[in-house]
Amino acid sequence: MPWRNGREVFVMEWDALFRILFLQDHNTRVVVLGTFVLGVAAGLAGSLLLLRKRALLSDTLAHASLPGVGLMYLLLVGSGQSGRQLLALLGGAVVACVAAVITINLLKQTTRLKEDALLSMVLSVYFGLGVVVLGIITRNHPEQSAGLQKFLYGSTAALISSDAWLLVGVAAGIIVLAACFWKEFQLLLFDSGFAASEGYPVQRLDLLVMLMVVLVTVCGMQAVGLILVVALLVIPPVAARFWSEDFLAMQWIAALIGGVSCALGTLISGVLPNMPAGAVIVLTAALLFFLSMILGIKRGILLREWNAFNLRRKTEHHHALRAIYELLERQSSEGFIDLEELRRSRSWSAHNLKRTLRRAVNLGLVEWSAQGIRLSPTGREEARKLVRSHRLWELYLITYADVAPSHVDRSADDIEHVLDPQLVALLEEKLQAQDSREVVPKSPHSTTLPEVGGSA
């Protein structure tokens, strides 16, 4: 059986590999199915938690469930029953988690302590209580305490059919809840004040989110372990955030990432020796997170770097055109300007400027010959628009925002690239209405404002 973690499976035979990868064994199927639905449910519940800005609550809950399990065990043994009743122990865990949520909320309302302090305090004190109870169990019932260890590290390999079906049941419940209440959740997450004013039971919805998280935490604990279930609740939603700005899409991407990393992780740990499934699942999820962070099509690093690069290039391009135009304007002739002269007009590096100019030449906006640099007719038109936006904005700042003329150039530099024609028209209208005597208001730097399409 491939699920043992001993060294004897190090040399895997092909048919054994085949059996695992194509889910030939009943056992493999059960484990993969169980962890897959766990991942899906965790992705769904975790998204809600992340957007509620309480991602680390799952960590606190996972640790805080320990005393619940331990005390329930003592209670069962004390009343003469077997201590190994999974449902009862999970029930104990749920009770402890609910108590932890109540403690956090109560302390949040009655003290000045911040949420992060409360989370770590409840986490560690509850866990301490759990360790105390476990200590008592170990001393008094040494033969059975090993079973409780399963809750701490989890044992995916030992997942049996009934456990898997429990997971499927819980996951189904969570999927149904998430599907039924998506609109309410969306409202709660993005504007809880509005939700409350519309008459939604915000507090109860919040409790429902917490309950979903508690269920995933408690059920996931025995599959992947106490600490790693936190990973399932946190990592997939954060990863999904890079792919979509839409709540519903993000939630289901998170579910997919969670499910896939669970199933994949389980399979990998089955194939490789000495690989605890829980840890491999988390590392798979971490890998998916890393890929998402870099490649994500909405907030990924590559995308943002590309956009920033484009904006920088566009800005440089605009600045170069405007600088050429203004130099020509000052010369008030159709002449050429010198590269060095252009470079001195702004603090450009020679390399940067040359690259920008070559791009402009390729676009047919600038003519760059041995005589010097000058604008082509289309370039002149383009540059005129830019100078116009720039100066209009400067004037606007001086007239309406009371900015000193010596300070407006920088602000206008930043804004001129994003002014659309409509806005320019509006500015024009506003400034001319303000001073109707001058049809074309003067630039604060004593150069004239060029008119679009006018004679050059």
Binding site: N5, R7, L50, K53, R54, A55, L56, D59, H63, L107, T110, T111, R112, L113, K114, D116, A117, L119, S120, M121, L123, S124, V125, F127, G128, L129, G130, V131, V132, V133, L134, G135, I136, R139, N140, Q149, L152, Y153, L228, V230, A231, V234, I235, P237, V238, R241, F242, N274, M275, P276, A279, V280, V282, L283, A285, A286, F289, M293, R299, I301
Partner: protein, 444 residues
């Protein structure tokens, strides 16, 4: 019942735990104030692969190698969290969650790889074993000292020096990091230096309290002290006291409590220290002089009582105004049954303090009357009420039939100066909008 005997072993255990607790509490204050409490949690989990890798690389369980490995991972965690928060625009809590769970998983795998070679038990890292601390001894200048005492004593020295030397910087950057930055402080460097110390302290504590309970030692004493004072140096001192109390009380309870509950043997000292510090926090939460739940509750109760007293006095004053003299107690019933307990209690207090007097009327029914200071106090409330009504109508333009509710609230918070100011502004009016006489300012 037979209680265990306190031995020299217990003294060593308590000393180790005490040093760890002091160490953690000292740094915990700043973690708490910098809103990075969960960073302790993140670091204490994330150092696991550092420990495992150090072991795998060198093959030794020597403290120093492990220590360096864990330290590297601790600082790396702080960097990674910052990087994911900034570059990925992820909320800090979430990026901590991503980093420490991933690193912890990596650590588990490394440990599993090493497990076949030597016994490196993850539960030892999770729980710690302070009970075994006295057996792991080193000889120093002819003395045999437990390793844990030595390491944590040294750590305490380092932390103490760090905090004392950088007190001003830590204080400023904890409360207002933007200001600290604008004053030219190297806030980023301070952050990573501090995180390195947290990592080192966490690692030094592992053997004693384990990676999760160390969080309790970091945060709970500081949080307890936070509830007791608003001065930083008092907070630090108090947190040290709480830490000391928790470690001594924790070990004692670990020995005693199982027996008291009818179980055999003792239980985990580390766990008990966490629980005990939780209990100390609970005490502070309940009984803190300024911020405690009990103090706040009492304060609220006194406010209610004051408002109820004003209401009763004013009602009685108005009744006497109408009837020109003592009135039947039954007429006061409507006001007494607004909040039956509070208002009746307030009425009782008024009688005890000699503000109102109960007498027998001619036909044998109970009569009630304002006496002494009671009359003056009542008149102040009524004057405030009617002045406010007038003011709200005249100056703010509230409709006459709407002003009563607002005046009813404002009358309880109006001082003599405010009344004088209002009267002056309104030109010393005689009547309120309901055409009732505004009484004068009676001197007691």
């Amino acid at each position: 019942m037979q209680f265990p005997v306190w031995t020299s072993l217990d003294s060593w255990i308590v000393l180790s735990a005490l040093l760890v607790a002091l160490n953690c509490a000292l740094l915990g204050n700043f973690l708490l104030l910098r809103k990075q409490s969960m960073m302790g949690d993140a670091i204490s989990h994330a150092v696991l692969p550092g420990l495992a890798a150090a072991f795998l690389l060198t093959g030794s369980r020597g403290s120093l190698v492990m220590f360096v490995g864990a330290l590297v991972l601790g600082v790396a965690t702080a960097f990674l969290v910052q990087w994911i928060t900034k570059a990925g625009q992820v909320e800090e809590g979430a990026s901590m969650g991503v980093v420490f769970t991933s690193l912890f998983a990596l650590g588990l795998i490394l440990i599993r790889q090493a497990a076949s070679q030597v016994d490196l038990d993850p539960s030892c890292v999770l729980y710690g074993a302070v009970e075994l601390a006295p057996f792991d001894v080193v000889k120093v200048a002819g003395w045999s000292l437990p390793n844990a005492v030595l390491v944590n004593g040294a750590m305490l020295l380092v932390n103490g020096i760090f905090v004392l030397l950088l007190w001003k910087e830590l204080k400023l950057s904890s409360f207002d990091s933007a200001l600290a930055k604008s004053l030219g402080m190297r806030v980023g460097m301070l952050h990573y230096g501090f995180m390195a110390l947290v990592a080192a302290t966490t690692v030094a504590s592992f053997q004693v309290v384990g990676s999760i309970l160390v969080i309790a030692m970091l945060i709970v004493p500081a949080a307890t002290a936070f509830l007791l004072t608003r001065r930083l140096w008092v907070m630090v001192l108090l947190s040290l006291l709480v830490a000391a109390g928790a470690s001594i009380g924790g070990h004692w309870s670990a020995l005693m409590v199982p027996e008291l509950l009818g179980y055999e043997g003792d239980t985990s000292t580390a766990g008990m220290i966490a629980v005990f510090s939780g209990l100390l926090f609970l005490c502070a939460w309940l009984f803190s002089p300024q911020q405690g739940v009990v103090a706040l509750g009492l304060h609220r109760l006194r406010e209610w009582e004051r408002v109820a007293k004003d209401d009763v006095l004013a009602a009685l004053w108005r009744l006497q105004e109408k009837h020109h003299g003592p009135v039947a107690l039954s007429l006061l019933h409507p006001i007494l049954s607004v909040e039956p307990v509070i208002h009746r209690f307030a009425f009782l207090l008024l009688r005890i303090r000699g503000r109102v007097k109960l007498t027998r009327g001619s036909s044998g029914e109970s009569m009630v009357e304002l006496i002494g200071k009671g009359f003056a106090e009542a008149q102040k409330v009524v004057r405030s009420h009617r002045l406010w009504e007038h003011y709200l109508v005249e100056e703010i333009g509230v409709r006459v039939d709407r002003v009563h509710q607002s005046a009813e609230r404002l009358e309880h918070v109006t001082s003599q100066e405010m009344r004088a100011e209002m009267a002056r502004e309104l030109g010393n009016p005689e009547k309120d909008p309901h055409l009732k006489t505004i009484p004068g300012e009676e001197t007691v």
